[in-house]
Amino acid sequence: MKFTVDWLKNHLDTKFNNNQIIDKLTNIGLEVESFESSASELDTFIVAKIINAKIHPNADRLKLCDVDIGSDKTIEVVCGATNAKNGLLTVYAPPGSIIPKNQMKLSVSKIRGVTSYGMLCSESELLLSNESDGIIELKNNKYVNKIGEKYFKNTSEKVIDLSITPNRPDCLGVRGIARDLSAAGAGKLKINKKSNLKYIGDQNINVTIKKEKVQGCTIFGSCLIKGVTNKESPKWLKDKIKSLGQKPISAIVDITNYVMFDLNRPLHAYDADKIDNEIIVRSSSKGESFEALDNKKYILENDMCVISDRSGVLGLGGIIGGIRSGTEYSTKNILLESAYFLPRSIRKTSKQLNIDTDAKFRFERGIDPLSIEEGLRKASELIKQICGGEISNLDVKKIESYKKTIINFDPFLFEKTTGFSVENKELIKILEKLGFSVSKNKKILKLVVPSWRPDITQSIDIVEEIVRIKGYEHINISEPVKTRLKPTLNYYQKLFHFLQRSVASKGYLETVTWSFTDSKINQLFKENDEEIRIVNPISSDLNVLRNSIFPNLIFYLKKNLDRGFKDISLFEIGPAFKGKNPGDQTTVIGAVRAGKVSRLSWNDKERIVDTFDVKKDVIQSLCEIGIDKDDIVIDDKTPSYYHPGKSGGVYQNKNEKNALAYFGEIHPNIIKKLDIKTEGLVIFEVCLDNIKEPKQKIKDTKTEYKFSDFQKSERDFAFIINKNFKSQELVNIIKSVDKKLIKSVRVFDVFEGENIPEKKKSIAINVTIQSEEKTLNENDLDNINKLIISSVESKSGAKIRS
């Protein structure tokens, strides 16, 4: 909502200066977006300096000028003026400028084969004089420090631009703003002068509001103004319209607009002679159409509120008028409309047809239904003043009468809500200035809500009115109470934060990527999940919700590889979506590692990252959150985007169905399809939702401290075993030989090839044996050795290597 201080002063007697007014507006909830001169067409002309003027390569009479316009780079302009020379200060007009002399809009153009960005101006082109010979020569001493600044001073009055919240339609008119300011002590609201207009004769175009199942119009007021002379608006009115950032059109249109912005009362003027017999306000039928004042043809649906005559639709009530009945300079007789349309109907129709107008914006928020006649009077008076003519009596048709909103307000609610109190006297004064009528019934105030405040329906609305006018600075600070109702984080929230930092501590950079992704990449990772399409995506490559974190992670990994990074570790923790209903999401960690370990190291051998790097990271993180490494079970079934032979799943124990994590190489097909150029690429993921909350807290799980001081022995074994036999199995077989004596089992070598039969491998294992009761003698150790060998041989088919 834009207006000037002068306009405001038409409604408000105030001693406040501009800054005080601005502050006050902000303090009462009318947020000031800006306070500056309205943009002028002349703003684009700037002071410039010719750095270098040389002869045009294809035309001797033209010059090619490098022009300094105060920005980083100079601009190249082709110029025909003979006085264009090095060092000259002049006026430059960039492409898009409108030249005052001929109203031509400049564009980037080629002149004799050379592109010219804008032009250098002569005095006559800027209407400064008749001098058209050569470009303006500005005085060095005055302008040399102003290169890049506007040449023309903007002298137009400063405009206040308010951002009005949707609950305040009344402040979409200057008078409403003045009323709020007066309630807040910024001045006195001026009383509208009673005019002594003469109304002659009846409005004799019949108006009917049809009774319909859906009728968007409840009141239709109108008057006829006969014998007008439509013309250009007088300067004061033009200035007002311009200050709104709009273009003056004709006196009649400007007046209806002016009254809309002044009183928040939209009006519409018809050329009465173009109306076919009568006005019918009705609901549209599907397929009806009309050409609107924005020069577009609209085809209507059922149940849109239209103003029509016998020939068809004239306009969409409260939204936009039609060309057929529009006023022109030649218009002699006017029908002026002032009506009330239901916000819901306006909103629905304008959404369906995608139309946004000032009138629509206001009716949608709720116009004062009691302002019908005031609007007609004010506009017709102005029309008569400017265009002459004779005004008929007002004709108001309604199918519903306005019902007052009454609120019984207990002033205690104010103190209860805001924490401070205001005396009843002051409270009543504020409400009365806002237009409420107040009567007292013991402690309760009976309030009649002003008709221009459709947003006020209950007591809490009254509290807001009082506290905002009184000022939020009166609310006293109450120090926060530290009472806690429950622990800050639950188990899974703690897990989230812990794992996030656990993974980062292993050398991964955390990233945050969109929850949406490109369906083409998502498809490679979605497995059996449902694809979740966004109906209105921001772009076609962010058109689905991600079923996995990897589509984005791989996409950005590739971007970083393309930037020249080689060794990259990235991870994200966040949602992956499984369906389109609320809650169909899981929390996962996705991590990628690419490139090499120890690249260019002077003392370590460099190698490509591999599955056991990510296995280490994921297992270590799981151990850090308290999972016992001895319980963890690995298998080799993984989602299809993993390399089938080089990936694994991690389970919390052997009976668990859902994997806690997966790790491994990414499938080579995906690397090829996405054209990822890297030496090595391994990934892991953790499904946080599959981690079971332990039944005991750490304080309950610490067992009695036991240790053995008896000598421990280490024995090494080497077995020849089937190539596909998993080392994990072998270790478990050995462990189960004697859980008391066998303290640890460690694979320290795996070997295939020379001296080993085909489809077999050799596994070397180190076993630590220790008793808690005695020092084991050679005999004891021999027994256990034999037991280990025989168990392994019988359970795995392995042979001890001799």
Binding site: E31, E473, V535, L545, R563
Partner: protein, 355 residues
């Protein structure tokens, strides 16, 4: 006796020129081993007279002490020499680079969420969460924003179905609805999370982060709201004084509503929070609307309280001098390394919010 002295002198001479520990040890056993020269001399003592024995024993003991002393000094001398020689050979260039360390970082959004949670934890708030996909009812209608309300235009919404019943939440406020529906008052929660709006430019991203706050009890009023946010802002920006301004505004789900501005100034091209005469809007808040309380089965004549919503990314930008919101989500390795936080920097009250 003179023989013994001669032997002793010979051995002392030998020891003086010896440079090998093993050879010194050989001498030691030649003298003091089972059949060593000195050991044998002691054995002879038994067969001589008492008078002589006394004298001889004393002399022998002196010789033994002298020799033993000499041997241990010699060994120490040789060993010291050897170690010094070894140390000299083993000198390395310690300015050569250490083994590579992979440095991981925490994203600024995560760090800021942890900072916020830590601050609110101090004043008794717990953390709630809600799903990213929401029903139209939870996101709008329950929050007193019916279908025909122009306030809906302020949220450009991503929809998941053509009936517009499923959407990506446009704010974290639906967590208020979920929290209150599943529990009984009092409520004292914050809810950080992802939020979505379908606009995208330098200052808007289609996804961003908000933290919702909700405190409902019997007598919670606007003074508490002001106190809570005043505390939060001061703690978050780690300043002693904060210039803060509550300005009336409108949100359908709170009444009275406010927007909160903080004072700032630009010093040497950097934004300084808490001073200066410029205002920066950082959050929206208000008293929870009675209609919302009714919608979630809380009796508004018994319970009341406040709610607020803060843009997390924006707070992070202000605190850590990040200019471009879009960069948060572009996964540029350089940016993540530059603005990321060490994983050991866990914001907490006792160690301080940040270093």
């Amino acid at each position: 006796m003179s023989d013994i002295i001669k032997i002793k002198d010979d051995y002392i001479d030998k020891l003086n020129t010896e440079n090998n520990v093993d050879k010194v040890n050989n001498i030691k056993s030649e003298l003091f081993g089972k059949n060593g020269i000195i050991s044998n001399e002691f054995k002879k003592l038994g067969s001589i007279s008492v008078e002589e024995r006394k004298k001889l024993a004393s002399d022998l003991n002196n010789i033994k002490d002298e020799l033993q002393n000499k041997i241990s000094i010699k060994i120490q001398e040789i060993e010291t020499k050897e170690i010094n020689l070894k140390l000299e050979k083993e000198k390395i260039d310690v300015t050569l680079p250490e083994r590579d360390i992979e440095i991981g970082k925490i994203h600024p959004v995560s760090q800021v969420i942890d900072e916020i949670s830590s601050i609110f934890s101090e004043i008794g708030f717990s953390v709630e969460e809600g799903p990213d996909i929401e029903s139209e009812y939870n996101n709008f209608t329950a929050l007193n924003t019916p279908d025909n309300h122009p306030a809906r235009d302020m949220h450009d919404t991503f929809y998941l179905d053509n009936n517009k019943e499923l959407l990506l939440r446009t704010h974290t406020s639906p967590v208020q609805v979920r929290t209150m529906l599943k529990g009984k008052p009092p409520f004292k929660i914050i809810a950080p999370g992802r939020t979505y709006r379908s606009d995208s430019d330098q200052t808007h991203a289609p996804m961003f982060h908000q933290v919702e706050g909700l405190h409902i009890d019997k007598n919670i009023h606007m003074g508490h709201l002001k106190g809570c946010l005043n505390y939060f802002i001061k703690e978050f920006f780690e300043v002693d004084k904060i210039k803060m301004r509550f300005r009336p505004s409108h949100f359908p789900f709170t009444e009275p509503s406010a927007e909160v501005d903080i004072g700032y100034e630009i010093k040497n091209g950097k934004i300084v929070i808490g001073e200066g005469d410029k205002w920066l809007e950082i959050l929206g808040c208000g008293m929870v609307h009675p209609n919302v309380l009714k919608n979630v089965k809380v009796n508004p004549s018994k319970y009341q309280g406040y709610a607020f919503g803060i843009g997390i990314d924006r707070l992070g930008m202000l605190k850590y001098g990040i200019n471009d919101l879009r960069a948060f989500f572009e996964t540029d390795y350089r940016w993540l390394s530059h603005f990321g936080f060490d994983p050991l920097d866990v914001p907490s009250n006792y160690r301080g919010l940040s270093r």
